[in-house]
């Protein structure tokens, strides 16, 4: 069905904000239960070692300490956390146990859990647990090492993915021009402002487990927990509360998602654990750490002929639920929005003694766009072709859609760009930044600072399948409730879904009485929010549910009118009209609540696309970069709420700027995390990047879903690293500066300028 267009596309102020601006959100740490115990986790202070012994007796007898559990108390075998995405059998040996039992493999790995009457007492008790660990040499980098993380596995190499298309070897053999470069992106992380938290309660009489603090993928996590803890899924409810940011990292199944429910069931009292920031930085998924050695082949006119090379990703100590996503994306999406007929790329995933990695907004895409766009600027200069023109010549044209990307093996995964006119966003971006006027400044010094401009293009995949479920209820008062399997992580889901439901049901926003999401009690099955999928998948499921509910309303009305359902017309606003002008309000048809479920299945991905441009100035004396202007343009197909999308694009850009300039999880050679606080791990503040602009276009609706929407919200971060590095290179071209790695800290840039100074 085609919804009308009253709400969709309007910049409607968010429904969520009525509670959030007044401090009335309900995040997991805002909850409490009678008889609550507080948990803390003893974490390994050693990056790599063999556990000789753990003695918790002294902790157990401390006043107000309830209990201490180690792996020995959990049972044999200690449950393993399975992979959610790309669960290849080759990767299973590297999955994480919920608690270390023989070896510790990263600083921060759980060793014991303490329950006490207060969080402070539980923290005190950690110091009373004696852990004897025989230290082993730490493996911190990719590549060969004599030291093995997994004794049974002869190498620290977990798997190598291949991305292939055409015949790269042949293309390189005949190529008139090639260039080969090495690049690297540093380890950083999503850093949601709300630390993680889990609260669990076991109801002995009913045999039911309730777990609060779920996010992102509660249905999947319930499946894991049910298997690990030995309960049927129906006996477990995961409750999604307000969630203080996700960005890919929060809501995946972590050790604590087992440990807290386990402890609550074991002791028969409710248990809550709230992560502190220090443990967050060593426990939540890290991301992005990767390097590559890649080569491009072009014709003299700048037509790209082929890409080949190798990338390596530093996976940390275990393969977590979505740990493989970043690596595979690096090679599958290195071609981005460009026509690359021949591709032969591999990426090797190396296990190291660092915190395990997972997805962070634009996983793999941020990294690979940095690699690609950096390389493009070098190539364009070699060939004497304008950087913009080089990109124009190689952008995939609308007539080439759908356009096949490289195929990933293992397991032969194909993907294709769905639709769009990539030149239009590039044009708009250049126009908005004032490229023509500003380009005269490029590489020039004014007032002691060197100016540089850069532009880059990107695509953003979204709408992962396989399906989503929604349920709409016509309430007795004539309003509608929306239940959906998508999850809210702060992105404004309730507002977007109320808009979609309102249009689909032809009622004003006020008649949508509530949007209930995430929790496992709401719908029969849910797939949550990742891969920019919620609006497309959940929204399309709502359309289906609305059509089904409207059919039910017709049937109910027909029974009252004594006519056929086809004779009933549903009038906007909530009235059913039958033959001879008979009419009845929806509220009178609702009974105790009239309900219909809907689903949306999807095997393809949506592809938002766009271009970013930036103007920077660099202080040659300090290497400090001033971002003078930043313009992001993205076409996301049909836009549901331009106010929200605009804000998400800008927010994503600034996160990307953090990755480009500031954020770095630094380890020493012993595998010790050196950036364990927000004073060490720097994220952008309000004074860092004042001028960020965004424009959202909706000119090319996605052909693969009834809304015409495309996944959005990740695109804003994807090109930022490449654009910033190219802008710095452009500014400092007279110094021959060519950044090959992020982050672009002042000392790094200063050092890149050093050779020219000598």
């Amino acid at each position: 069905m085609k919804p009308n267009n009253a709400l969709i596309g309007s910049p409607i102020e968010r429904l969520e904000d009525l509670r959030f601006t007044r401090g009335r959100g309900e995040y997991v740490d805002d909850l409490t239960r009678v008889g609550l115990l507080h948990a803390t986790i003893l974490r390994s202070s050693v990056a790599h070692g063999r556990i000789r012994s753990i003695d918790a007796d002294a902790a157990r007898i401390l006043p107000h300490v309830h209990s201490v559990f180690t792996a020995a108390d959990i049972g044999n075998p200690v449950p393993i956390i399975p992979m959610r995405l790309h669960p290849l059998p080759e990767l299973q040996p590297f999955e994480q146990p919920v608690m270390a039992y023989d070896k510790v493999r990263y600083v921060g790995e759980p060793i014991a859990i303490v329950l006490a009457e207060s969080a402070a007492i539980a923290e005190d008790a950690l110091a009373a647990i004696a852990v004897d660990i025989e230290p082993l040499p730490a493996v911190t980098g990719c590549g060969g090492s004599d030291e093995r993380l997994f004794d049974a596995h002869g190498t620290n190499l977990a798997l190598t993915y291949t991305a292939a298309k055409g015949d790269a070897a042949a293309a390189f053999a005949d190529a008139p021009y090639t260039r080969r470069e090495k690049f690297a992106v540093q380890r950083h992380t999503a850093l949601p402002m709300e630390p993680r938290g889990v609260m669990a309660e076991w109801d002995t009489a009913r045999g039911r487990l309730t777990v609060w603090g779920a996010a992102k993928v509660p249905f999947f996590n319930r499946r894991i927990l049910a298997r690990q803890i030995g309960l049927p899924e129906a006996s477990i409810e995961l409750v999604e509360n307000d969630v203080g940011g996700g960005f890919g990292a929060r809501g995946e199944f972590y050790p604590e998602d087992f440990l807290i429910p386990f402890a609550a069931r074991r002791v028969g009292r409710p248990v809550k654990w709230i992560e502190d920031r220090r443990e967050h930085l060593m426990a939540i998924n890290h991301a992005r750490e990767s390097e590559c050695d890649i080569e491009i082949a072009c014709s003299r006119d700048g037509t790209i002929l082929a890409l080949r090379g190798h990338a390596a990703t530093n996976m940390g100590a275990y393969l977590r639920t979505n740990g493989a996503v970043g690596a595979r994306n690096i090679v599958q999406f290195m071609s981005g929005p460009y026509r690359v007929p021949n591709i032969d790329l591999t990426v090797s995933m190396w296990m190291t003694n660092k915190t395990p990695v997972g997805t962070y907004r634009g996983p793999g895409r941020f990294e690979t766009d940095f690699f690609r766009e950096r390389l493009f600027d070098m190539v364009a200069r070699d060939l004497g072709i304008d950087r913009v023109e080089f990109r124009r010549r190689n952008l995939v044209a609308p007539t080439e859609m759908p356009y096949a990307l490289a195929t990933i093996t293992p397991y032969e995964h194909k993907d294709e760009l769905d639709s769009g006119d990539y030149q239009t966003t590039l044009d708009r971006c250049l126009q908005e930044i004032g490229w023509k006027e500003k380009i005269a400044l490029n590489g020039k010094e004014t007032d002691g600072r060197y100016h540089g401009l850069a532009v880059g293009c990107f695509v953003e995949g979204g709408a992962a399948g396989p399906k989503e479920t929604a349920r709409l209820v016509l309430e007795p008062n004539g309003s509608f409730s929306v239940y959906v399997g998508s999850s809210a992580v702060g992105q404004g889901l309730e507002t977007a879904f109320a808009q979609i439901a309102g249009d689909a049901l032809e009622v004003p926003l006020e008649r949508i009485s509530g949007v209930f999401h995430g929790s496992t009690a709401h719908v029969s099955d849910g797939y949550g929010s990742y891969h920019s999928r919620a609006v497309v998948m959940g929204g399309s499921a709502i359309l289906d549910a609305a059509a089904n509910l409207r059919t039910r309303i017709r049937v109910e009305a027909a029974a009252r009118f004594d006519c056929a359902p086809e004779q009933v017309e549903l009038v906007a606003g909530g009235t059913a009209v039958g033959p001879q002008g008979k009419s009845i309000a929806f509220s009178e048809l609702a009974g105790d609540g009239l309900s219909a479920e809907g689903t949306f299945f999807n095997k393809k991905h949506t592809w938002g696309y766009g271009a970013h441009a930036a103007h920077v100035s660099v202080d040659p004396k300090t290497g400090q970069v001033d971002l003078i202007d930043y313009m992001a343009v993205e076409d996301c197909g049909r836009v549901i709420n331009p106010l929200m999308l605009h804000g998400q694009v800008i927010g994503a850009v600034v996160q990307g700027l953090g990755g480009a300039f500031l954020e770095h999880l630094v380890y020493d050679e012993q595998g010790q995390l050196l950036t364990g606080s927000l004073a060490d791990y720097l994220v952008p503040t309000a004074s860092d990047f004042p001028r960020i602009r965004a424009q959202v276009m909706g000119t090319h609706p996605s052909p693969i879903n009834p809304l015409g929407a495309k996944g959005a919200g990740e695109g804003g971060i994807i090109p930022v690293g490449g654009v910033m590095a190219n802008a710095v290179a452009a500014a400092l071209s007279s110094f021959g500066v060519e950044p090959h790695a992020l982050p672009l800290t002042p000392p790094t840039i200063w050092q890149l300028m050093e050779p020219a100074r000598r």
């Binding site: 968010r14 959030f20 309900e26 949601p192 203080g244 920031r277 600034v654």
Partner: protein, 162 residues
Amino acid sequence: MSVPLHFEVNGKPVAIEVEPRLTLADCLRHRLRLTGTHVGCEHGVCGACTVLVDGDAVRACLMLAVQAEGAKVVTIEGLSHDAHLTPLQASFRKHHALQCGFCTPGMITTAHALLSEEPHCDAARVREVLSGNLCRCTGYVSIVEAVLAARVAYQKKDGPGA
């Protein structure tokens, strides 16, 4: 060991016994159940726990509850009404100055303290003052716009900062 604590929270007198090591943030959240004040880092960097202590914006995670003896503390709950949003809150909503909402109470208390003192401040001043409050969602652009747009309410004699 507990010690007595007398202070005023959101205009109401409070008399409780607290452990000396209890932070003001934990006291507000877990003893007084004022959960609008959020804790994001516990080391004074993120600003999510900002409350007003005798009118000044203060990090409640860096202050012990016992240090609030005799003070007037205002939290986001004390800056809110049931019936309507304040001009600052409405401006945050209008400008989409929040997404996940976790930093928002700290942002609003900080901005309220700023606008109460300096209702004519400019964008650079807003950015300077808000630079002690981390937001991971918005990129700050809309927050600065929201605060600037709310200045007009604070410029009135009987405005929210009066």
